[in-house]
């Protein structure tokens, strides 16, 4: 039975009223009195020495207030990296300085060199063009394989090479894995590229810095997924501003997808310059600028080998990856190809031996960091592709090969350090086959053949680790932050509630689903609850939203705080009802004494807390406000079976996605409609990666797809009607809601399903094609067929 409120109800997204009627308040909507405008002059070469910057002509231009270059930032720190990897030899990674503005050298197209602050945006830009910057272009390293060659040009002169780290996991298994592969009945090998992507949130990045001389307080308004993280990183490591003098506000944010997690130079610049200039400083990214300054995603080159016995049991898995870091280390870049990737290489399978090697490489490209899924899509893609290839090579049905190797007993400790608490992979596989009418595929394929088309069906069965993350564990793994979440539940005198959360909503609908949880626990109407987020002055220190962590970690903090509220309220109710608090029950917003008809309403109890005339003041404090911090005991492990049905036009190579099916196990579901929307968005991005999107560089380091003329975003008519299901539920065992998280699954599970489907179609059509690198654009598919 669908519910009409609380946990499990498809409550309409309350935030959509303002978004859909143009009343959202985004950072670019913030215009402060007396505001000035910053224009970033960026490198148009990938690598070069800055010989001189002559600012005099620019400074003399109308409206110009000041021109900033690296020398203005000499007293300021570089942009910090939030994760330190220790390599297979016990050495810490090479960590180059990442200055706010380029110092002496530019290292990628888009690297900021100077900033003009002027009265208007146009004046700032005019003056930016008048800057006289003399750069000697140097050879650029773009391809990771070239970057690792002896004698390769170095991206950073002060590092020993372009290798950031050489990570091995689990290092102790290395030899055993090699042995197992050597002796195996069958080894399937696959070399592949996980294509570089640009996140492209609908709202470009914006920063507005403000400084109040009377209080010595700085405020930064920014397009961030985690304002507290920005406050900590920027305040402590870059600008030296203590938290009580620095407020970071991230109001409505129009999509993040990971790229708005990181601390960027533009944020530090606007905060810094506002004090220097004595006026607010605003910067709004153009779309072209976003292509060369927002952190990119993915960009792995991988060789994976899967060893099987004669019956198709997986014996060992070995994978070697080159992971592109770009020119500098973005905030969480080092963690993505390592801990967010290597730990997922077991997938849904009981492979006993696994070894993952990752070499992170500096190149003269835009920094690469987390993008929807972050490491887990890269793990899933190679694994689900190699399993499919193995099935074909061994003549085993790909569904059967997966089933044969599925983990069936939980908890399950993988050989790559994580322990899955729950899951039922056969259930999601069954669901997928049913939803997609797998049994009827051959009939449909025959129909396609009649029309001269090749039809194919592809499967992937993914695992991901969400609910990031147990702080003590990630601390051991190199994180320079804790990954708990916080919530303050402030009950007002008349019973309405404001929940201040450290999570941040930038499209996820937290204002709706979080309110559902609290409403459900207390038994009052959702409309009585407001979710407050995105302002360090209002919310307790929290780590923000990414890694599908908000309901699992932020939601758990909120549950804990609400439990504290309920406990206290029960004491107040017991006093009012002259009963023992052990006998008080809370149901539908009323407290009653068990076994009697004596009860008192929620609003009477909350009023008593703030008007404590009749109140046990000797036992409890007045007021009703509680804060909780929740640190998860483990990751959560959503999983699911994804299926994709395609048709390939053999004459042109064009792939049409006819159907996409997602059977997910997200644990318990708070709002099914929002979950469905999250999966739709993830699928669109995953299909986008597999079919369309490609951030390509030429050999000189120019971005070949630096605008929508060449960077193909998925559009509605590229996508089929999605068929999604989340009725297979194995609740998470270690968080109070039993939830797992759903934000990234679509982007993680879909690319291999699509590629597997195209390979299936081509092989059914008699083409001996075993792999095509994403995106599967028509020319690539045609070239593979005509190979």
């Amino acid at each position: 039975m669908p519910k009409d409120g609380g946990i499990g109800a498809s409550s309409k997204r309350r935030e959509d009223l303002r978004f859909l009627t143009g009343r959202g308040k985004y950072t670019d909507d913030i215009n402060l009195q007396n505001q000035t405008h910053a224009y970033f002059v960026r490198s148009d070469v990938a690598h070069g020495t800055i010989n001189s910057i002559d600012t005099s002509a620019a400074e003399a231009m109308p409206g110009v207030l000041r021109v900033f270059t690296a020398k203005d930032f000499e007293a300021v720190g570089g942009i910090p990296c939030g994760w330190q990897i220790t390599d297979r030899h016990g050495e810490v990674m090479q960590e180059p300085k990442h200055p706010v503005l380029a110092e002496g050298k530019v290292r990628h197209v888009g690297d900021p060199i100077a900033v003009v602050v002027a009265e208007t945006q146009a004046q700032a830009r005019d003056a930016g063009e008048a800057l006289d910057i003399d750069i000697t272009e140097l050879p650029a390293v773009i391809d990771m394989r070239d970057a690792l060659k002896d004698g390769a040009t170095k991206v950073h002169d002060d590092l020993t090479s372009n290798l950031c780290y050489d990570w091995g996991f689990v290092e102790e298994n290395r030899d055993a894995v090699d042995e197992a592969i050597k002796g195996a009945h069958h080894v399937t090998t696959l070399e592949l590229t996980n294509n570089r992507l640009v996140a492209n949130p609908m709202e470009p990045r914006v920063a507005v810095g403000d400084y109040d001389f009377s209080t010595d307080e700085h405020t930064l308004y920014t397009t961030s997924q985690n304002p507290h993280v920005i406050r900590l990183l920027m305040g402590a490591f870059v600008l030296g501003i203590p938290e009580h003098k620095l407020r970071v506000v991230a109001p409505d944010v129009g999509g993040g997808f990971g790229t708005k997690i990181f601390h960027y130079a533009e944020e530090a610049f606007c905060t810094f310059a506002a004090k220097e200039i004595g006026r607010p400083v605003k910067w709004t990214s153009s779309r072209s600028e976003a292509f060369m300054s927002d952190a990119h995603g993915r960009d792995h080159v991988t060789k994976i080998e899967l060893a099987l016995d004669k019956d198709g049991n997986f014996l060992a898995l070995r994978t070697d990856t080159l992971a592109n870091m770009g020119a500098y280390l973005s905030t969480f870049a080092p963690s993505v190809p390592t801990w967010l990737h290597g730990t997922l290489m077991a997938g849904n399978y009981k492979t006993p031996l696994i070894y993952v090697n990752v070499k992170a490489v500096f190149t003269n490209t835009v920094p690469v960091d987390a993008y929807r899924g972050a490491g887990r899509p890269e793990a899933t893609f190679q694994l689900e592709r190699v399993v499919d290839k193995a099935a074909r090579e061994m003549g085993i049905d790909p569904v059967e090969l997966r089933r044969k190797n599925f983990i069936t007993e939980f908890p399950y400790a993988t050989p790559v350090a994580v322990e899955y608490d729950t899951g039922d992979y056969h259930a999601t596989m069954d669901k997928l086959l049913e939803m997609s009418d797998h049994a009827g595929f051959d009939t449909r394929a025959a129909e396609s053949k009649k029309n001269g088309k090749l039809r194919g069906f592809g499967i992937s069965h993914y695992i991901e680790a969400c609910g990031i993350a147990p702080s003590n564990l990630v601390g051991q793994l190199g994180a320079r932050a804790g990954l708990y979440e916080s919530a303050t539940v402030r009950v007002n005198a008349t019973g309405s509630i404001s929940v201040m959360t450290g999570s941040h909503s930038h499209g996820q609908g937290h204002e709706t689903s979080f309110a559902q949880v609290v409403a459900d626990m207390i038994g009052i109407d959702e409309s009585q609850i407001d979710i407050v987020h995105g302002d360090t002055a209002k919310t307790p220190m929290g780590m923000g939203t990414y890694g599908s962590r908000s309901i699992a970690v932020g939601g758990s903090a909120m549950v804990k705080a609400t439990e504290k509220i309920i406990n206290k309220a029960k004491k107040i109710a017991a006093h009012l009802l002259e009963a023992s608090d052990a006998d008080i029950e809370l149901k539908d917003g009323a407290f009653s004494v068990a076994g009697t008809d004596k009860s008192v309403a929620w609003g009477d109890v909350t009023l008593a807390a703030y008007v404590p005339h009749n109140y046990p003041l000797e036992d409890i404090e007045p007021g009703l406000e509680e804060t909780a911090f929740y640190d998860p005991a483990n990751f959560t492990y959503p999983s699911g079976g994804y299926g994709c049905e395609v048709e390939v036009d053999p004459e042109t190579g064009k792939v049409t996605v006819l159907g996409f099916y997602a059977a997910d196990d997200f644990g318990n579901i708070v709002n099914p409609m929002i979950v469905e929307g999250q999966v739709h968005g993830g699928l669109a991005q995953g299909i986008g990666q597999a079919l369309l999107e490609n951030c390509a560089y030429d050999a000189e380091g120019q971005i070949l797809s630096g605008s929508y003329m060449d960077y193909a975003m998925p559009r509605a008519d590229d996508l089929p009607m999605f068929n999604v299901d989340h009725s297979c539920i194995t609740p998470c065992t270690h968080n109070p809601l039993g939830v797992k998280g759903c934000g990234e699954a679509g982007a993680i599970g879909s690319p291999p399903a699509l590629v597997n489907a195209v390979i299936d179609a081509l092989q059914r059509g008699g083409h001996d094609v075993t792999h095509i690198d994403m995106p599967l654009s028509p020319d690539r598919v045609w070239a593979a067929m005509n190979g």
Binding site: A122, T652, K654, N694, L704, M709, M713, S777, P778, A783
Partner: protein, 261 residues
């Protein structure tokens, strides 16, 4: 965008006068020019808007049965017209509704983007491009990518399309821009078939004369068997190699002859 003056004449004569200055440039629907200005890749002092000139707008049929499209007519109007169905169908697939309700035929063929659709229609239809000073045959008008017979300050006021017996345009879209990766317009007249190809060649729109000869003899896709287009001189980029484009020319030509129902 840099600052510029805007001039809104209401007659062709006034527009020609306004364009006489070196630093003036015609503005049609702005769907190509405005993005160029926003990127600061051009800096005309004055833009002379042609969209307020009534005598350059609208569609009619002349005494020779030609469909005459005013130079400032928007794609949406051509799409809705229907008297030359293949032309209307082509116009209905240019860009998105915003582009179709702004962009003009004059702007499109003056710009002569090597991946634009209109040039293929004009060339295949053997249309006549009318300007404020002369009439130019399609075969003489297109002179390589982004290059036309237009002189400085010359305005496309009208395009006259002979309406073929049968015609079809097949556009294989570039996945990002959705311009033509390869577009082929086939037009069959009583005296022969014309085949114009856009999107493919480094020299811009061109006629595939081998296919024209074969199809003039036998207007069926079978007639193309044995023909091929050389990859030499075809464009090659992120979205398709020269060989792929050459291959698509033939595939799209065949589909234009036998369009799917």
């Amino acid at each position: 965008m840099y600052n510029f003056e805007i001039n809104r004449p209401s007659t062709i004569a006034d527009a020609v006068k306004a364009l006489a200055s070196d630093e003036a440039q015609a503005l049609g629907g702005g769907q190509t020019l405005i993005p160029t200005l926003k990127q600061r890749l051009a800096s005309p002092e004055t833009l002379v808007s042609l969209t307020g000139i009534d005598e350059m707008k609208g569609i009619c049929v002349d005494d020779d049965g030609r469909l005459c499209v005013g130079g400032a007519t928007i794609h949406a109007d051509v799409a809705a017209d229907g008297r030359y169905p293949a032309l209307s169908a082509m116009a209905s697939h240019i860009g998105d509704p915003a582009v179709r309700n702004r962009g003009t035929i004059g702007g499109s063929i003056a710009n002569n983007d090597p991946a634009a659709c209109y040039p293929a229609a004009v060339l295949a239809s053997n249309a006549t491009v009318v300007t404020n000073t002369r009439e130019i045959d399609a075969d003489d008008y297109f002179q390589g990518m982004f290059t036309t017979a237009l002189e400085e300050g010359e305005i496309v006021t009208e395009v006259k399309f002979p309406v073929p017996e049968v015609a079809n345009y097949q556009k294989f879209v570039q996945p990002a821009s959705r311009f033509a990766l390869v577009g082929v317009f086939v037009a069959k007249f009583s005296d022969g078939v014309r085949v114009a190809v856009t999107g493919a060649s480094e020299d811009g729109v061109f006629r595939w004369t081998d296919a024209e000869a074969a199809l003039s003899d036998n207007f069926s896709a079978d007639a193309l068997e044995g023909l091929s287009v050389s990859a030499d001189g075809m464009m090659s980029d992120l979205h398709g190699s020269a060989a792929y484009r050459a291959h698509l020319v033939k595939v799209m030509t065949g589909r234009a002859v036998t369009p799917a129902a």
